[in-house]
């Protein structure tokens, strides 16, 4: 016979913490019970209603098998392994111990603190769904299930993080997705054990074949509609507990130039917008470098009248064009960083001080020229057209600037060639990063730079190599 105190001690001996609450109570017949849960993670009111109240009303001496039908909670697990009980309590469950019994029940009435479903700060669509993922994995999974009611939706949860023991759910459509992809994801997650998985970006690195690369190997989705659309194309999705950003693999670079809204608006407009995004990113990366190279090495690149204006602006500037651009870009990055990190109200002041006061004063003091500020500001705006690639493109802009200042225009062309050569043979989960352009996949080009109408896209992307090819059937 196991006494209640002894069982409580088996759990409390491991979970030695003030936030682990033990609530002891007795039934009408005098049978003693204990509930152990983490304060703030378990839903106390529901525990009272669905567990304590029914048990308190039991008028006979109940054994473990008699207790189970009395519990009104929908999620009840019976167990005898106390290590498992400790884990379940940490996840937010409550352990119900019964005096004189070695077994216990785990009541799944978790309600971790979290925010409500809201529109995410990125991936905003003017027309289209506004729900975004939250930090709660259960809410996120429910948002996915709400949109994909098919029985082929698989959700498999693995745990990662030696101390955080974070839940990571891999979602895919079993009849569409290449089965090797979720298997490989699970393998790669299992191969990496870290103390804490603070965000999905950790998992993003774990599941990447080249985690140190400047170019990422998995896409991100902050909205369930985008996430579900990607699952339907044949990708696998990864939802990480505690992160509102889900991941999808395999990843293609072209994905970041697509917006969810492209699929909701006219295909003509969507095509124009996609071309615009590509041009914007190219301009954002190359404009500051080209300006420097043109000034230092090839003035012919600048139209004559513009050249006259620029020369009048830069005359008297004590810095060389490359140092001037470097400095301006540095100030922009500092302002950017400060405005993100600072509290909102101070951030606004910093924007005003930085953009207006600092910029204006620097120009009038003759430290930097107006064209340099215009170019850097325009470059920054251009890069934010594709925010998911910001980390990469901003770094490329720096590298390009250094090359342009030292090697000149030829260096920029060489660097572009290097990037192309690097990207064309890179792949993520067997899918080339530059597909559908290199290797050129004519069928997928309809949803590459050019966006064909929905009715012209009856098949899923060929590059992903999924099982079920057809996504749109028209009844005649």
């Amino acid at each position: 016979m196991c006494s209640l105190e002894k069982n409580i001690e088996r759990i409390k001996g491991v979970l030695v913490s003030e936030d682990v609450i033990t609530y002891e109570f007795s039934s009408a017949a005098g049978k003693r019970f204990a509930l152990i849960y983490v304060d703030g993670l378990a839903e106390k009111a529901q525990l009272g209603e669905l567990v304590v109240k029914p048990l308190a009303a039991v008028a006979k001496d109940a054994s473990l098998s008699d207790v189970r039908p009395v519990l009104a909670s929908p999620e009840v697990k019976e167990g005898s392994d106390y290590d498992m009980a400790v884990k379940e309590i940490s996840y937010g469950g409550a352990a119900l111990l019964v005096d004189g019994e070695s077994g216990f029940f785990i009541i799944g009435l978790t309600k971790p603190p979290g925010r409500a479903v809201a529109e995410p700060p990125t991936q905003i669509a003017v027309k289209g769904p506004r729900e975004g993922f939250t930090e709660d994995i259960k809410v996120n999974c429910a948002l996915v299930r709400k949109r994909l009611k098919t029985p082929s939706l698989r959700m498999e949860t693995v745990r990662c993080g030696r101390r955080s023991d974070t839940a990571v759910t891999i979602c895919y459509l079993s009849d569409v997705c290449d089965p090797s992809v979720p298997e490989k994801v699970k393998e790669r997650i299992a191969a990496n054990q870290i103390d804490i998985v603070a965000d999905s970006s950790y998992i993003g690195r774990f599941i990447s074949s080249r985690p140190r690369s400047l170019f990422k190997r998995c896409a991100t989705a902050e909205k369930p509609d985008i996430f579900c659309a990607k699952l339907c194309e044949g990708r696998a999705g990864i939802i990480v507990d505690g992160s509102p950003i889900a991941l999808t693999v395999p990843y293609m670079l072209a994905e970041d130039f697509q917006s969810s809204e492209d699929y909701f608006i006219s295909s003509y407009r969507a095509t124009i917008l996609r071309v615009l995004r590509v041009i914007a990113v190219i301009v954002g990366i190359f404009l500051p470098a080209t300006y420097v190279a043109a000034q230092l090495f090839k003035l012919q690149l600048i139209p004559f009248r513009l050249l006259i204006n620029i020369s009048s602006s830069v005359s008297g500037i004590p810095l060389s064009p490359s140092v001037e651009m470097f400095l301006t870009l540095f100030v922009l990055e500092v302002l950017n960083e400060a405005s993100i990190r600072m509290p909102k109200y101070v951030g606004l002041a910093i924007s005003v001080v930085g953009a207006l006061v600092l910029g204006e004063t620097a120009v009038s003091a003759g430290i930097i020229s107006t064209p340099a500020i215009i170019i850097v500001a325009f470059s920054a705006i251009c890069l934010y057209v594709v925010p998911d690639l910001m980390e990469t493109t901003a770094t490329l802009r720096w590298i390009n600037l250094i090359i342009a200042g030292s090697v000149g225009t030829f260096g920029i062309v060489l660097f572009a060639c290097f990037i192309i050569s690097y990207l064309v043979t890179e792949q993520a989960y067997g899918v080339p990063l530059t597909a559908p352009f290199a290797p050129m996949i004519s069928r997928d080009l309809k949803d590459g730079m050019f966006k064909a109408d929905m009715f012209n896209l009856p098949l899923r992307p060929e590059a992903l190599g999924g099982k079920n090819k057809v996504r749109l059937r028209k009844k005649k």
Binding site: L301, F304, G408
Partner: protein, 373 residues
């Protein structure tokens, strides 16, 4: 069978890279020998090369073996010797284009001619790309070829307004001897047969693929001939002095005075493609060296150490030659025109034709053996 490439990529390579390699110095060279008849020696070379490319492309549909596997029956020594010789040939074929590129870069990328050191970072790219094998070349062609076509089209559109086709008249006034001399002098630009031979067995050619490749090459020949005609109809008698016409042809376009030298953007885009065309020689050279050493170019998804070492060695050799002949473009070109044409004739015309014949004979033998069974 090594599926490094697909037919489309071969078509892109056989269209864009031959054009990219022939529009820098060849127009000035041919106009020096043949004046307004500069198109005819090019046509002569292209016809001969076209026949070879056709034969090799046809052979590709009959055999899945690479050229070196085909000649493997002749003994290991012959196979190794062929690999080393082809490696040497591709390194040699890259030298003049490298010197041309160096001069081109110094002219169009800089207002004042900079020192050689400005061109040397090319070899960093070359080491990297050279080690990556032919799969990289194919995928690069997927991006470079459309870019090249767009840039060339833009350049031609900008320059066609200043052309006067009557400069090309009267046709065939140049003596035949001069035409043949021009063709022989331009022969070092024609390595397409050798390139096609190296691509044999590295892609799965199906029925009808021969036609696609041949059409691509024909389109390439037409583009070069059209470029030559346009070149002479713009520059006329001063054509022999107009090196790097790509950067000069559109200079008279009226809009340039308003919007600046936007033709240079097209020229830069073409330069990227020209670099990839040049890098293909390095890649083929490294591939031949690796095969001669019996080493794989890739270990899983990564570049093998042997390939990296071969690429470094090839590029060090080429960089040394470029440094050594930095101020000697014309003597080197003259050497290639006077003496190296025979080597180009052998490796780009005779050996590919022989390789194609061997592949077809083997295919026929295989069929006969199949029938006897």
């Amino acid at each position: 069978m090594n599926d490094s490439l697909c037919t489309r990529q071969v078509c892109f390579i056989m269209y864009a890279y031959p054009v990219a390699g022939k529009i820098l110095m060849m127009p000035a060279l041919l106009s020096f020998y043949c004046k307004n008849d500069l198109v005819f020696p090019a046509v002569l070379c292209f016809l001969a090369q076209f026949a070879v490319v056709w034969a090799v492309a046809y052979a590709c549909t009959r055999t899945q073996k690479t050229f070196f596997e085909l000649i493997g029956g002749g003994g290991k020594v012959l196979k190794k010797a062929a690999m080393w010789l082809f490696a040497l040939f591709f390194a040699a074929a890259a030298l003049v284009p490298l010197l041309e590129q160096k001069l081109f870069v110094q002219e169009i990328f800089y207002d004042t001619i900079p020192s050689l050191i400005i061109f040397l970072p090319f070899f960093i790219l070359s080491v990297y790309v050279g080690s990556k094998g032919l799969r990289n070349a194919g995928r690069t062609a997927d991006i470079a070829a459309p870019l090249f076509v767009a840039a060339l089209a833009a350049l031609l559109i900008m320059s066609v307004g200043e052309s006067n086709l009557s400069w090309l008249l009267p046709v065939l006034k140049t003596p035949v001897g001069e035409l043949l001399n021009g063709a022989r002098s331009a022969l070092y630009n024609f390595t397409d047969g050798a390139v096609m031979l190296m691509l044999m067995g590295r892609f799965r050619a199906r029925r009808g693929d021969c036609k696609k490749i041949v059409i691509s090459y024909a389109a390439s020949a037409l583009t070069v001939c059209a470029f030559l005609a346009l070149f002479y109809s713009i520059f006329s008698v001063i054509s022999p002095d107009q090196y790097f016409a790509v950067s000069k042809m559109a200079i008279f376009f009226s809009a340039l005075s308003l919007v600046g030298r936007i033709d240079l953007i097209a020229a830069y885009a073409m330069e990227a493609c020209m670099l990839f065309a040049l890098l293909l020689y390095v890649q083929l050279c490294v591939t031949c060296v690796c095969e001669a050493l019996g080493k794989e170019q890739t270990a899983g998804r990564n570049v093998s150490p042997a390939s990296a070492a071969a690429s470094v060695a090839v590029n060090v050799l080429l960089a040394a030659l470029v440094v050594a002949f930095n101020e000697m473009y014309l003597p080197v070109q003259q050497f290639y025109r006077m003496y190296m044409w025979a080597a180009f004739a052998l490796f780009s015309f005779i050996l590919p034709a022989a390789g194609a014949a061997a592949a077809l004979l083997r295919g026929m033998k295989g069929k006969e053996a199949g029938r006897e069974k």
